[in-house]
């Protein structure tokens, strides 16, 4: 093992762990102002929007419709009330079938 790579991995690990851990240490037992609490309650849904778009359109680099189809399949199956695993598996199946047809 090259020691430079090991140091790089340790450094990457530290700078990744610290932002993950720090909020729990800083805000332990503290009551944040109501406005800030409200903002943090909004974060999951805003993050999900940002995590899905635009990245889902680029899962297949030359064919934007591939991502559009995957997104539509996931939205539809999920809207019908299926649980997350079913949503995941059916999107995979839809796209696999699509690539065989194309």
């Amino acid at each position: 093992m090259k020691s430079e790579i090991i140091w790089m991995i340790i450094g990457m690990g530290l700078v990744t762990y610290i932002p993950r851990m720090l909020p729990f240490l800083l805000f332990q037992g503290k009551e944040l102002p109501p406005f800030l609490q409200g903002v943090l309650k909004n974060v999951p849904y805003a993050t999900l929007g940002a995590l899905i778009f635009p990245a889902i359109f680029f899962i297949q680099k030359d064919d934007i419709w591939y991502g559009v189809l995957g997104a539509c399949a996931a939205f539809l199956v999920s809207f019908l009330g299926a649980n997350v695993i079913v949503v995941v598996l059916s999107s995979i199946v839809v796209l696999t079938v699509y690539s065989y047809l194309m």
Binding site: M1, E4, I5, M8, I9, G11, M12, G13, V15, T16, P19, R20, M21, L22, P23, F24, L25, F27, Q28, L32, G38, V39, L40, N42, P44, Y45, A46, T47, L48, G49, A50, L51, I52, F53, P54, I56, I59, Q60, G67, G70, A71, A73, A74, F75, V77, S78, F79, A82, V84, V86, V87, V88, S90, S91, I92, V93, L95, T96, S99, Y100
Partner: protein, 243 residues
């Protein structure tokens, strides 16, 4: 009924494991490809597995490989990793609000396992998040990531191309599956997600900032704007426009 039964640690752990299955599936093709690319970038199998074990952050691990290939210095790689992963601070702060009564030391330990995916699953879960649940959720995600990184390096090949591509949708489908149930019951959630998506698309497509920052900025903009709207709605409720 069920609310009154104090659930023990191990059943919470099991719930976490179950909730993590889709993450486990979603990490499989990405980890496999990471292992393969790490091999072609000249990392040994020990280094590859060690990176997945110690860093446990997909996007930044991929970026580090391309930086290694460019011959970028170690310091710059670490700095880039920091920038890409700064968004976890916001996620940690959000989860901290949802997990009030746990021991600090448990949170300090499980915070290591906060990724976009474990965060999304935990944050959209109903009710409070317990340490047992987080440990369950993270163990399955972490195992999938570490084991399949190693296997990817070992076999030195990825899945058949069609399967590889179709499995690439897994994590996005999971995000959608987590989001839609809440969208059905809350207009606010719809606005939050749409604004987050629109801001992130504008910031990313126009190359305004690095991806790590774009997600944080889009999330904050959306969350703050909607919260301000909410505050105004509450303040002027009764004046005539609302309800």
């Amino acid at each position: 009924m069920a609310d009154l039964v104090l659930e023990n640690h191990s059943s919470q752990f099991r719930k976490g494991l179950q909730a993590g299955v889709s993450i486990g599936i979603g990490y499989f093709p990405i980890a496999l490809t990471f292992g393969l690319l790490a091999k072609t970038s000249g990392l040994s199998i020990t280094e590859t597995v060690l990176m997945s074990m110690i860093v446990f952050a997909g996007a930044s691990q991929y970026i580090s490989l391309s930086l290694i290939a460019y011959g970028t210095g170690v310091f710059e790689i670490i700095l880039t990793t920091f920038i890409v992963n700064i968004r976890h601070f916001l996620m940690g702060a959000t989860l901290n609000e949802k997990s009030d009564h746990d021991q600090l030391i448990h949170k300090i330990i499980y915070s290591f396992g906060i990724t976009d995916e474990t965060f999304s699953v935990a944050a959209t879960k109903e009710g409070q998040v317990t340490s047992g649940y987080m440990f369950g959720l993270i163990s399955i995600a972490y195992s999938s990531w570490v084991v399949f990184s190693g296997i990817g390096h070992l076999i030195g090949a990825s899945l058949p191309q069609t399967l590889q591509e179709s499995m690439g949708v897994a994590l996005y489908a999971m995000f959608i599956g987590l989001l839609v149930p809440s969208m059905k019951t809350s207009v606010k959630v719809v606005f939050l997600a749409v604004l987050g998506a629109v801001f992130n698309t504008i910031l990313t497509i126009n190359d305004i900032m690095a991806q790590g920052w774009a997600i944080v900025t889009a999330t904050l903009l959306s969350s703050i704007i909607i919260e301000i709207v909410e505050v105004f709605k509450t303040r002027y409720r009764g004046v005539g426009h609302e309800e």
